[in-house]
């Protein structure tokens, strides 16, 4: 027995319109416009080049940072010329290791909060209070606990990346529609498998948003972490450049941070798109 009912087929999602594509193109032009304004300010010397170096000077420093020869060091210990990839590797390593740990810990704590009202009642006040502590307030404690350098840097990045994961996993799993949980139970899913079969997949769109936010925050926390006395890392380079008054090298660091942050977000968004395609509107 069949009842084919094609007339009831819902319309499929509409593709992005031409107008939206052209808006995105204009959005891509904005950085170029800003670059033009920046060049104009520099060439007319409206602001001192010590405070805002010309785009050409920054481009030259950028080239030196990644591709220059020599062993020019900032503040005596932090190399600059030709050290770009080395610094980038150090920062990325710190960021990704700490972020991965934050994702594992944050997902576990978030699931606990989302699935257990007792855990929520007991832990929510403490976690909300800890979440309100600014990252810089952890800096002295991180230095005392982990010493100057790598350990403190990783701990600070971990703390910065943790909360978006805890909040997104906790809130979204607590809001999973009851009908999904009941249907799964009725269809024979054991209670111990519900988190894997229902809670996480249902919460995934919000969790992915939390992961994106968390990765971006982890990356921005790298610079705080690298204030703890590390001599390798983009943040360490920027700090040393500031101490020696080389503003163009500080701007190089800003450009690197922005580019990597954008690349992180685009990559995670692309990877996640497949997981959460079902939630697209």
């Amino acid at each position: 027995m069949t009842l084919v009912d094609d007339t009831l087929l819902a319309p499929l999602p509409v593709a992005a319109t031409g107008r939206r594509r052209s808006r995105r193109f204009v959005g891509l032009l904005f950085p170029l416009v800003l670059l033009g304004v920046w060049q104009l300010i520099s060439s007319r010397e409206l602001i001192s080049t010590r405070l805002l170096p010309a785009p050409g000077t920054v481009a030259q420093a950028f080239g030196q940072f990644f591709f220059g020869d020599g062993a020019f060091a900032l503040a005596g210990v932090v190399p600059f010329t030709g050290a770009g990839f080395d610094h980038l590797e150090a920062s990325l390593g710190r960021c990704l290791v700490s972020w991965s740990l934050a994702v594992v810990v944050g997902t576990t704590v978030g699931l606990l909060l989302g699935l257990s009202s007792m855990a929520r009642d007991l832990l929510d006040p403490l976690l909300n209070a800890l979440r309100a502590v600014p990252l810089f307030a952890w800096l002295p404690l991180a230095l005392v606990w982990f010493g100057i350098g790598e350990g403190a840097a990783r701990a600070l990045i971990f703390v910065g990346a943790l909360w978006p994961v805890v909040v997104s996993v906790g809130d979204s799993t607590a809001r999973v529609p009851r009908v999904h949980v009941e249907t799964a139970r009725m269809l024979g899913t054991p209670a111990r498998a519900l988190w894997r079969k229902v809670y996480l997949p249902s919460a995934l769109p919000e969790v992915v948003t939390g992961l994106r936010l968390s990765l971006t925050l982890a990356w921005t926390c790298v610079i705080v972490g690298e204030l703890t006395g590390t001599d390798r890392g983009v943040g360490a380079m920027m700090n040393a450049a500031r101490e020696t008054g080389r503003t163009e090298q500080v701007v190089v660091g800003i450009v690197v941070f922005a580019a990597v942050g954008l690349a992180f977000d685009l990559t995670l968004r692309r990877v996640a798109r497949r997981w959460v395609a079902w939630a697209a509107t």
Partner: protein, 247 residues
């Protein structure tokens, strides 16, 4: 044949608010029992109790085994449908048999059979949001039937559909249940739906609900839209409607 559902002196309160006040019901193996009642009288609560989702006082049993908690032998289809939006239709239908650890080949055979029965063969890889309301409700019923439950519990399954689609769904479900006899408790506020699908009707009073009248539906199981203009049907519909409004 299995699937005898018996509820005796069923009582349920939410705090100080009594919702069910001694409901007695029997659904015989293979029959469709339509439960009718005024809006807000506790019909959905009754079905949730029968499904094992709510605690209760009194007794509910299936083939002599008391109901305590949800189980695959009582498949309930909620008004909003139970499809998991992150799974394709094929994976939704396979969810129950897979949860019971059935071999992959058997799961595939069950799913293919249900896709055929629902006329959704061409949509196996579609997500629920890509289906129309009527398709989603058919798929929701198929998802539950994949476990071959002796008892099917339907909570106003077509309430959100337009009149034309609802009529098609009535014909489809009547044919499906004729082909695969399953004890069914259908909760609805639609008298026409109850008369088109039910073998017997149980009328509930206003809250707190109890059964105030039971009556057999004196028409063949194969009921189509032609029955709607039958004078006996119209007369019975009017009488039942009067009873519901009076309860």
């Amino acid at each position: 044949m299995i699937g005898q559902l018996v509820a005796r002196d069923l009582r349920k309160s939410f705090g100080a608010l009594p919702v069910l006040a001694g409901v007695d019901l029997v659904a015989r193996p293979g029959e469709v029992l339509a439960v009718l009642g005024p809006s807000g009288c506790g019909k959905s609560t009754l079905l949730r109790v029968l499904a094992g989702f709510e605690s209760y006082d009194g007794t509910v049993s299936i083939d002599g085994t008391e109901v305590r908690g949800p189980a695959a032998e009582r498949g309930m289809v909620a008004q909003s449908g139970g499809l998991f939006p992150w799974l394709t239709l094929r994976h939704n239908l396979a969810f129950g048999p897979s949860a019971h650890g059935r071999p992959r080949a058997e799961v595939t055979a069950i799913v293919d059979d249900l896709l055929h029965a629902t006329g959704l063969e061409g949509f196996a890889d579609a997500l629920p949001r890509e289906l129309s309301g009527g398709m989603r409700q058919r798929a929701g019923i198929a998802q539950v039937l994949a476990n071959r439950p002796p008892v099917l519990l339907l909570d106003e399954p077509f309430g959100a559909l337009d009149a034309q689609t609802r009529l098609r769904m009535h014909e489809w479900l009547a044919a499906l249940l004729a082909e695969r006899p399953t004890t069914t408790v259908l909760v609805t506020h639609d008298v026409e739906e109850a008369l088109l699908l039910g073998d017997r009707l149980a009328l509930l009073s206003g809250r707190p609900a109890k059964v105030v009248e039971e009556l057999a539906v004196p028409f063949d199981r194969t009921r189509g839209r032609g029955l709607l203009s039958d004078p006996d049907f119209v007369q019975l519909k009017t009488r039942v409607l009067d009873s519901v409004l009076a309860s």
